[in-house]
């Protein structure tokens, strides 16, 4: 396959960026999108040019490191991570636009790499449970009803990639935050911090400069893990409940 790539190039956080055009040839439809970019980078290095910086780690769709807005879609046209997107989703001769995640809370560091540490701080604010250390407890020590376990698991699938923020017209982090709130708040292990978790995580989310939710639904469409839009509804419910409880104290 022969492709024309238009890639966002930006030297550093303070530099002005712009789209640059590159041609790549000899791309196999079985390559992943990142392997295609590796091919481009090898050519750039041979030519003595600066390779395109992009994030990646596991390359098997589980770590959440890879990003990229491809032709306007976070993680590209398929519902998966960029590392699991294959070139067979494109046609020979296509022009592909590649841009970084765009949000005030995710500043560009270089080229296609953005700083997602705002997510870490949201998790630090309440995305954990407190447990005594020591040997692992018996697996059946705390029974969890099957529907709750399934619900928690569905939300635990979030890999923190940030596609939801990138896709949201308001740069909101509601889907990411709600995935963690729902995951932990439904479990008995998460019960002791149920109220502070949602209040603190939402406050941190606001503090980081993410936008608010207008229920556009773009986040859930972009999410490679299928976190549903109703996850946000669930978090709103938890937030209202926690606020009412805090008011009674």
């Amino acid at each position: 396959m022969k492709l024309t790539l238009r890639v966002w190039r930006q030297k550093n956080a303070d530099a002005e960026g712009a789209m640059s055009t590159y041609q790549v040839d000899g791309i196999s439809p079985d390559m992943s999108f990142l392997e295609m970019l590796d091919t481009l980078n090898e050519e750039l290095i041979l030519k003595g040019e600066e390779p395109v910086a992009f994030d990646h780690d596991c390359r098997e769709g589980i770590c959440g490191a890879c990003s990229l807005v491809i032709n306007g879609d976070a993680h590209g046209p398929e519902r998966t991570t960029t590392c699991q997107l294959h070139m067979r989703s494109f046609k020979d001769g296509d022009t592909i636009d590649i841009e970084p995640w765009r949000a005030a809370a995710f500043p560009v560091i270089k080229d296609l790499v953005v700083d997602r540490s705002a997510f870490d701080r949201i998790i630090q604010a309440g995305g954990y449970i407190s447990v005594p250390t020591g040997s692992a407890p018996d697996a059946h020590a705390t029974p969890v009803p099957k529907p709750d376990a399934d619900f928690a698991f569905e939300h635990a699938e979030c890999i923190g990639c940030g596609a939801c923020v990138a896709a949201c017209p308001n740069g909101a982090a509601m889907l990411f935050t709600s995935a963690k709130v729902n995951h932990l708040n439904v479990l008995p292990q998460g019960a002791p911090e149920r109220e502070t978790r949602v209040l603190d995580m939402v406050a941190q989310m606001d503090e980081e400069g993410f936008g608010g939710c207008t229920l556009a639904g773009e986040c859930a469409t972009a999410c490679p893990k299928g976190i549903p839009l109703t996850s946000i509804t669930g978090m709103n419910k938890e937030w209202l409940r926690a606020t009412r409880k805090a008011a009674k104290k």
Binding site: R6, W8, M19, V69, N71, G72, D73, D97, E99, R102, A103, A104, A105, A167, C168, P169, N170, G171, A172, L199, V202, A203, M205, D206, G209, F210, G211, G212, C213, T214, L215, A216, G217, E218, P228, L229, T230, I232, T233, G234, M235, N236, K237, E238, W239, L240, R241, T243, A246, A247
Partner: protein
């Protein structure tokens, strides 16, 4: 607690949902009341007079009406201020646009913002037209709402403003009712279709019901 709610994006959105639902409830009652115009001047004017005497003898003349007006003003102001503040925040949170544009992404959001602005302007015009009579086209007479309404809808611009605003109301409620359910945490996967259906029906009924009046005047059914 009020501070926490107002300072949080989730809380401010709750204010928007509650004030929106209060206005929606009012609109349903208002629309049904308007339809009485099809039963003639006497019945319509009598209904308007009744609005001022509801609750008597517990309430004094017009007290109930003023309570409703105060609630509505508070709702409109709370709704518009939170909409404005949240929208500004949303725009700041996404300062750079994508080079590769996808129009659909913000369709609902933009319609809500523009629709909201249209509705805000409409509310001002509507009150100056039919409540105070300040910008009324005919010889406005308090206590004669039937004639006042007929006069308004006998002008092309009266009809135009009204029709645009009622289409905006329909679109606003279509997304707004469902949104409010999510904001208040009562939406769920199993309820989603029902909520969307109710939103569509409400939007359609309100738009059609409100539009029936200018259409009635234009076609001569009401004169």
């Amino acid at each position: 607690m009020a501070r926490t709610v107002w300072d949080s994006t989730v809380g401010k959105k709750t204010v928007m949902a509650v004030s929106g639902l209060i206005m929606l409830l009012y609109l349903v009652a208002h629309m049904i009341g308007n339809l009485k115009i099809f039963f003639g001047a006497d019945e319509f004017n009598h209904y308007a007079h009744w609005l001022r005497t509801v609750g008597e003898p517990l309430m004094h003349y017009e007290w109930t009406l003023w309570v409703i007006r105060v609630v509505l003003v508070v709702a409109v102001v709370a709704h518009a201020v939170s909409a404005y503040q949240l929208s500004r925040r949303d725009i700041r949170a996404r300062p750079s646009k994508y080079v590769h544009k996808k129009p659909r992404a913000s369709y609902a959001t933009r319609t809500m913002r523009w629709g909201g602005i249209i509705l805000g302007l409409f509310i001002v015009w509507h009150i100056l037209d039919l409540t105070t009579g300040t910008v009324h086209s005919g010889g406005f007479e308090a206590g004669k709402p039937y004639q006042n309404v007929v006069d308004t809808f006998s002008t092309w611009y009266g009809n135009a403003i009204y029709i645009v605003a009622m289409l905006a109301v329909g679109l606003h409620i279509r997304h707004g009712f469902w949104s409010a359910a999510q904001t208040l945490g009562v939406g769920s996967r199993t309820r989603d279709r029902a909520l969307k259906a109710v939103a569509n029906v409400l939007a359609l009924l309100l738009t059609a019901g409100f539009l029936a009046v200018p259409v009635g005047v234009m076609t001569g059914v009401v004169s």
